[in-house]
């Protein structure tokens, strides 16, 4: 295929990606060094209140945003260098926490709190989701053929459901004295309130994420199980391998590329954890990196959006993604090189 035809086919899609993915990335990078603020001016205001005999007048200096002819607030954009990054990272507080030896204080800073949660969340859900997916795949593979269709149907539901609503549906089981909380209270004989402290919310979030992604792992592994080489399995049986050994030395190595694939997708997706925070309304206790950027972007009570800080936190999130993908990219690169030579 000539370059010209190739670019005619690929062109529209590439233009879309350049315009709406590459360009915003560059603009986020630039924005993170600039700060847009309204220009304030100091005006002398005399306020008078009616009093007995004479009015009581107070003159005070007020700073208020300058308005242009149309009554709009004039803003100015100035270069602030790394100031927004410093505002997000709050390295000063980190250093003082280190020097005073109270490491727990670092986790009171939003960014570090979000980073801590995002990383633990990603690393804890990964093995559990893989294990549940593999378990269900093995069980379905051994199940009666006529049951497989319905089981796959039911298993797909948590995967396909809108993430925010999936999180909400689990929250509604536990909220207040919902049936699950009542069940747990009955069982443990203590008073439980799942949404009053951080760690119980985190448990629910972990549960939700495994519930949501295990079906994906299951479907992929199940497809992989259909292509296991029967001859190898049979020779393993002849060699006297037990059921567990066959799983360990024949089935798992066969599934290994799929396990790596699912793990990669899971790493990318759970690094972006966001919908759980919205669904469980956990922002008071637990936040994630993507939610931090979202929160900076959403208008606050007076309608301002802190774009500059959002850009800084977005760039920091990006660095994490690049680090996460680095091994994969290096491997692809060396494969590509190897394939050519």
């Amino acid at each position: 295929m000539k370059f010209k035809t190739f670019s005619a086919f690929v062109g529209p899609s590439v233009v879309m990606m350049l315009l709406f993915i590459a360009a915003p990335l560059i603009s986020v990078f630039i924005q993170s060094f600039y700060l847009t603020q309204p220009i304030f001016q100091t005006v002398e205001v005399e306020t008078c209140t009616p009093g007995f005999l004479t009015q009581t007048c107070v003159t005070e200096l007020k700073s208020q945003p300058t308005l242009d002819d149309n009554g709009k607030i004039i803003t100015q954009t100035k270069f602030v260098g790394l100031q927004s990054y410093r505002n997000v990272l709050e390295l000063g507080r980190v250093a003082s926490a280190f020097s005073s030896g109270k490491l727990a204080e670092i986790l009171t800073i939003d960014f570090w709190k979000a980073l801590r949660f995002t990383l633990t969340f990603t690393l804890i859900t990964l093995p559990i989701a893989l294990a549940v997916g593999l378990g269900v795949a093995l069980a379905v593979d051994g199940a009666v053929r006529s049951l497989r269709g319905p089981i796959i149907f039911i298993s797909l539901l948590p995967f396909i459901i809108t993430p925010v609503i999936g999180a909400l549906s689990i929250r509604w089981l536990f909220i207040g004295d919902g049936i699950m909380t009542a069940l747990l209270e009955n069982w443990l004989q203590t008073d439980i309130s799942m949404f009053a402290q951080g760690w119980t919310i985190e448990l629910l979030m972990l549960f939700y994420r495994v519930w949501h992604v295990a079906p994906f792992a299951f479907v992929v592994f199940y497809a992989g199980l259909q292509t296991v080489n029967q001859d190898t399995l049979e020779s393993a049986i002849v060699d006297g391998a037990s059921r567990f050994e066959r799983l360990r030395y024949v089935v798992i190595p066969h599934l290994m590329p799929l396990i790596v694939f699912v793990a990669l997708i899971h790493l990318m997706d759970s690094y972006r954890v966001f919908e759980e925070i919205v669904g469980f309304s956990s922002q008071a206790h637990v936040i994630s990196l993507q939610w931090l950027t979202y929160d900076f972007l959403a208008p606050d009570d007076s309608g301002n959006r802190s774009i500059s800080r959002a850009s800084a936190s977005a760039m920091l999130t990006m660095i994490g993604i690049v680090l996460l993908l680095m091994p994969l990219l290096r491997k692809t690169w060396s494969d590509h090189k190897g394939g050519q030579s």
Binding site: V10, S13, L157, A182, P215, R243, L324
Partner: protein, 385 residues
């Protein structure tokens, strides 16, 4: 699997794996089933501690919204009949009456008419039959299960949720159509070109796929809000403010979805033998003619599967739509956050549940109809690596 003696499973393994499967199915389906049940009860029942009072809803019955055994049987009969007709009778009818080879168009019309007929029969005819017959049935006519549709009525009629539904429909359809059009072209080009450029495009797309969406939105937001001023030199006074425009959100979601779409469609096109379009080119077709006449007729399974995933992305999105759309143009998923953030009364909460169930009902149908395509889509990317 082979049935040799050694492969046959011992009884304890059968039992554990059966038990595990049953447990998994219970966990997978229960939260969804449960919110569906909750959405039909008055708040006191919906948030009751005792699961039986959630299912049977004594307060809901006391409120005068009970269903008799007769009504339950009749309702189940109508639902079962609808499903039976939808899968056995509707397809024949659609194919027989399709006009001018446009089968997909008659599918849309057929499904719409069918859905409206079902809603009419279920919510208007059925209740009137039941209220007419129940008093004469004695014990069979006594209410046993509480069930009220008042929350759905509050959500869809009083709070005008149908506006959000229409917005969701516009955004989702836009995303599916545009991203498939761009994606099939690009996917075909990438599948048929072995050049270095194609390889690098795919790698860059992979990196783009991993980007958190909030990073991108941080880039759009200031530009979109001020776009009228930025674009003024080009478009003059017609320069649009992109913030709050559904078509701007469509463009954004299409771009976000492109990396995934081209990867998936590329792997589908690689499965179509290249000899097919090469033969067409030998006969004198250009690449585009070969694509149009030879590839397009055989590519639909892959396109439908990819379209399903684009649909899910557009339909399920919360982050992009909630930040880039304003109140009037809000789609369904961000709109529901208005309910559960309010949380002033328990009625609000049950209304939020009813809204949530309304949102996931179409997804439920989607899995029912397209289960095979979804599974093949999930495995397509994986098996090729």
């Amino acid at each position: 699997m082979s049935d040799s003696v050694a492969v046959r499973r011992p009884i304890w393994l059968k039992l554990t794996s059966g038990g595990f499967l049953a447990l998994w199915c219970l966990i997978a389906a229960f939260p969804i089933f449960w919110i569906a049940v909750m959405s039909f009860k008055v708040p006191v029942d919906a948030f009751a501690e005792n699961p039986f009072s959630v299912v049977f809803g004594p307060e809901t019955i006391a409120d005068g919204h009970g269903l008799s055994v007769f009504a339950v049987i009749l309702g189940l009969f109508v639902i079962g009949g609808t499903i039976y007709l939808a899968f056995n009778w509707l397809p024949n009818l659609v194919v027989r009456y399709s006009i001018m080879e446009q089968v997909w168009l008659s599918w849309i019309v057929g499904i719409l008419i069918f859905a409206i007929a079902f809603l009419f029969a279920f919510f208007i005819i059925l209740p009137s039959i039941i209220s007419g017959v129940d008093p004469f049935l004695g014990p069979l006519g006594d209410p046993v299960i509480g069930l009220t549709t008042q929350h759905y009525q509050a959500v869809w009629v009083d709070n005008e949720f149908y506006r959000n539904f229409i917005n969701s429909l516009v955004v989702t359809m836009g995303v599916v159509i545009v991203s498939l059009t761009l994606g099939t072209l690009a996917g075909f080009g990438l599948a048929r070109s072995g050049s270095n450029l194609a390889f690098w495009l795919l790698i860059v797309a992979l990196v783009f796929r991993a980007l958190p969406h909030s990073v991108l939105v941080a880039g759009y937001l200031p530009v979109f809000i001020n776009s009228a001023e930025i674009l003024r030199p080009i478009f003059g006074d017609y320069a649009p403010t992109l913030y709050g425009q559904p078509w701007a959100v469509i463009a954004v979601l299409v771009a976000i979805n492109q990396p995934f779409t081209i990867w998936m469609l590329r792997s589908f096109f690689q499965n179509i033998p290249a000899e097919l379009d090469e033969a067409a080119r030998v006969d004198g077709c250009t690449h585009f003619q070969a694509f149009r006449m030879v590839i397009m007729p055989v590519m639909w399974p892959g396109v439908i599967t990819t379209g399903l995933f684009s649909f899910l992305l557009g339909y399920n999105d919360f982050l992009v739509t909630s930040l880039l759309l304003d109140g009037q143009n809000m789609t369904m998923v961000p709109a529901i956050s208005g309910y559960f953030n309010r949380e002033t009364t328990t009625t609000d909460q049950v209304e939020a549940i009813a809204a949530a169930v309304s949102i996931i009902a179409p997804l439920f149908l989607l899995v029912m109809v397209f289960q095979r395509q979804i599974v093949s889509g999930l495995t397509a990317g994986a098996v090729k690596g």
